[in-house]
Symmetry: D3
Subunit: 167 residues, 6 copies
């Protein structure tokens, strides 16, 4: 009966109660492509609404904590640390977030949610400089949100190689 095989059941939150509490870390990254003129304002610290990177950091930290309310099937986790770093090129900002918890399941969704929220906060803070004369955004884009590395246990998965940004 192919029909019953095809029918999705209703969503399920996976049972993690039997899993051990382990130190978990995840690093995620993503990039927002901005105009060179916007990057210049950002470098000069003259963005009118405030410092996009300060605002994005806080957005990221809050997003890591509120992941279970944004991601339907995520479990609540006792996040122990969130750190946010930025690197800039001539036409983009890359956000890197590392999340740590001692928990029964991994924290990569928390890290991804934080990266995504940081990038959206940057967009919101600079949007005035990215719109064209018709109010459209011809070039602003968010690219390449990915998990750089997941680590399970105190020593890290040193054997595993990082997932690089898309070349």
């Amino acid at each position: 009966m192919p029909d019953s095989r095809r029918r999705n059941s209703t969503p399920k939150m996976v049972d993690i109660s039997e899993k051990p509490v382990v130190r978990r870390q995840a690093i995620a990254e993503g990039r927002i492509v901005l105009r060179k003129s916007t990057m210049k304002l950002l470098e000069d610290g003259t963005i009118e609404k405030g410092d996009p990177l300060q605002i994005a950091s806080i957005g990221a930290i809050q997003a890591a904590k509120s992941t279970p309310s944004s991601l339907v099937l995520c479990h609540p986790l006792p996040i122990a640390a969130t750190s946010v770093d930025f690197s800039k090129s001539a036409d983009s900002v890359t956000v890197r977030v590392e999340v740590t918890a001692e928990s029964k399941t991994g924290v990569e969704m928390e890290a991804l949610n934080a990266v995504s929220c940081a990038l959206l906060n940057i967009w919101d803070v600079v949007k005035k400089y990215e719109k064209d004369e018709n109010g459209q955004y011809p070039s602003c884009r968010i690219e390449d949100i990915h998990v750089v590395r997941k680590i399970k246990g105190g020593k890290g998965n040193h054997g595993s190689k990082e997932t690089p940004p898309r070349s």
Copy 2:
């Protein structure tokens, strides 16, 4: 005095009280790149945790409504409609969200936040199928989140052309 020019002031929520209430729409899009084997399971409706597109739709609608708590400087808006569509290729799902409001400011951040949240929900639902033997995600990525079009006023900005996906 270059120093004072460089110093960002503290963040400001722009005053929109004098702006007229106008019908606003925004369409945003983004894509998640998945393994072909994951796409096959998605087509077959056999993803264990539930139907990723049902879950992503609901995540998107909830995210559109909660944008002011995720995006620090966004104003609360009376969202009047949110619709979510999906298109699939052999190795990706593209999410398209349209948000409508009668409001004093545009709704593109709501549409972008909804797209982003939909894509993250898809990732979370299929993550079991995207991990390699070391628990890493070698290929899963979110790409090309952008605003397709903003419309202000009842008739739309028909003169403006859409911002296409990155080729």
Copy 3:
């Protein structure tokens, strides 16, 4: 093609942008069945965790305001008033909530959500007195949550009759 007719599309938040802003009211009601001994404690004001009706009132008011985050397809509404009343029988408390807004859509889901949350708060406050020796709840139940009346426009639908409690 019966199959395509049967396939639900993804969830949609209905577009209310063209609807007029009108004064809306809704009254909803529901009942929690409690042990007579619990009702006696409630009457005496000796419930250990606090006054269930004070707590339930506040739970109801907060629930009315947070309805769009609990009910996936509900629109955010500018709630103008919420009032909560209680009536008691020998073995039950009935909660009645009236919600008012000037809005593009009705407020019955807000009233129902408030009633439901009030009843659950009562349960939580008295649960110690409703458990048996095995920690089970042999008799505590929530019954008959219904919309008593919806009113659209300033004058009310005086012609319509109330939906009575189930006899």
Copy 4:
């Protein structure tokens, strides 16, 4: 002094810090009474706003997680699993939710809150089909929300009997 006996003190969140962390489960159930014509549409998968059971499942899972913000005196709990099941009769849908946690206090309020939120989401999704010509709901009702069983510890309370639905 009868007066002081009668005076409720202010609400208190019970101290659970000394209680052991134990595996906890709770199953709750409730029912929404719908028109037979609505049930037919639900069976056919032709409800305009989406699939009520998919939406209700997600509403239930989110509600389980957000219980401490809805129920004033509930403690935050690390929910480990939530599953949602539905059964249908000719004129009703019954929702059954099971919640699991390793925690210092029971999860029955989480299960009850999830059932209640699922039922309200069903109502919201089908409300168009339940209103009469005056916009009233003559027959739609939520009935019999109760705890089927609480389980404490890994083996379950096999001796205890289930609390049946009200006949």
Copy 5:
């Protein structure tokens, strides 16, 4: 019957549906008393957890928006602007927040909530420097949270004098 006069009824959210939509503003202020050594670190920009004033600004803006979930009887309001300013003395930081909305009720609770949240965020960011060797806070205090001025209508209440800080 003195008893019935004394008995508080259950909480009520005041009905504002008949009130006109008017431009509203409110300015509130408050102060956190810190060690001179902490103020020096703050001036130097060497607080380890980040810039307290950046973090406090964002906390304030988010708090203004989330006031109806913190303050039980507050109505949801379409906040149009929030601005945050700081002034420093040798041993304190004063936070001043101005909130603007076009709404049916005033925004002073939003301004007070934002001031309060800003001050608490400052405390949290500098707490390491305010604790003594026993982990106690011998001198850190929040003082004098008050409404400086409420303004109703476009022109302001120019006749009314400001409520000054307590001398």
Copy 6:
């Protein structure tokens, strides 16, 4: 290079993953100064919107639980207990909150946030009686929010003395 020393880095959520789980308690206090006439109404139980102390208690308990969403760098904590007490003078109400958790970091920010939210809820409930004829608040103020004592470990820091209210 004094400049780099002065530049605040972006906000960081401190890593607590290596800290032991210990029983933690914190007691915080604060005061709202009200008119004698308002205090009389409060004593009489005739405040129109409800009992300010009941409402403030619940606001405090909810605030303790939601601290990580208000205070940007706070970690989510499994709060085990929150209790709220009030003492009244002729022209003020003092709120005292005690929070308990078994956690890797202290709970003083939770206690302070709860006190602050309780005081703001009192203000909101009595604001009608504190406004002058111009709608201003000439005398209502929140004063002296401070940590009375932090306790780490089961036995308390009995050697440490309380931080007294400001004389």
